[in-house]
Amino acid sequence: MGLIAKGVSSTVETFKGQTLSWEVVSGAIELALHRTPCNELGSLSLSEFEHFASALDGLQPNVHALIIHSELKSGFCAGADLRELYERSRPMEKARAVREVRDFLERIHRCLNRIDSSPLTTIAAVHGVTFGGGLELALACDLIIADKTARFAFPELRLGLIPGFGGIPRLKRDVGNAVVRDLLLTGRSFNATKAQQIGLVSQVVGEGESIRVARATAAQIAKFDRQTSAAAKQFIKPIPHDELRREIDIFCDLFSKPAVQAGLKKFVENRDAQPYLP
């Protein structure tokens, strides 16, 4: 495995990478994100997520839950690495840039679909910034447990894009259209209390408590028969494959428009104090 050759350690039950790590604790996989400044998802994160997705089959028979959390104070995940996206796509001929973006999206969709369809009960324990791709990662999980500092947003429209990691179909699966439109079309963020009111978050907990509560939830889940839990999950959480495909197509179509490079440039070069405010 290329990742191991680059100096990261891996066994079946543990992995320590540059952007994420995992270990099995008390019968649950704990996947920790730790790429500064706020777990932006770029090519290295994607490679390590793919490594995790491929390891998941081997891990699943021995555990009952998966907890995804961030080790960084700044938040759960600020979404795609826009700086990398801009720097990589800028010198490319447009058609090639779109092909590369499509490849990236296809790969990350495969990872998130694996998490979404895992027979394990999956929990996103979030805090702070949970924006764009970070929210999409959380939405792939069965439960979102948020501490009081968590904020959620899909700010992609200001870049001339829509969320591309499966966010819209999965958000539509979980909440009403009024919320989907508000989040998507205004790009605004909202806090954990609001997220719980609209049905996005299952529990709101004190600052710094989301991982502890996620572990307690995983311990509760462990009391149940695995196959029954998996059957229940499959029944209540269908994966919207057609819409996920359509989302990739729309994203790639939009990515070819001039507004995107202008939006990315503006974000990357922004020295204002508020680049993360929509």
């Binding site: 400044p37 706020c38 700044s74 938040g75 600020a78 702070g128 910034v129 009081k148 500092t149 968590a150 904020r151 947003a153 205004t186 790009g187 605004r188 963020s189 909202f190 806090n191 954990a192 209390t193 609001k194 204002d272 104090a273 508020q274 680049p275 993360y276 405010l277 929509p278």
Partner: protein, 80 residues
């Protein structure tokens, strides 16, 4: 409903406590980005703290261009 002055005081207290800045160093017309030395991620953190404290919802776009405590207090007051 609290007065705007009371709201402003509470914002200054909260900002001082959260960002560990002496309260007496904060004034209503200060640019809070400069006075608190915060970036946009920390601003979102402050926004969440304010929403939780005042039990209001503050859409980010209403805060575009807002950089002083007094104007911020006015935005919150309008939602109390």
């Amino acid at each position: 409903m609290p007065t705007t002055d009371k709201t402003l005081d509470e914002i200054l207290d909260l900002a001082a406590t959260h960002f560990k800045v002496p309260r007496e160093k904060l004034s209503p017309d200060d640019d809070f980005f400069k006075t608190l030395g915060i970036d946009s991620l920390q601003t979102l953190d402050l926004l969440t703290k304010l929403e939780n404290h005042f039990h209001v919802e503050l859409p980010d776009y209403e805060l575009q261009g807002v950089s002083d405590f007094r104007t911020l207090a006015g935005k919150i007051q309008a939602r109390l």
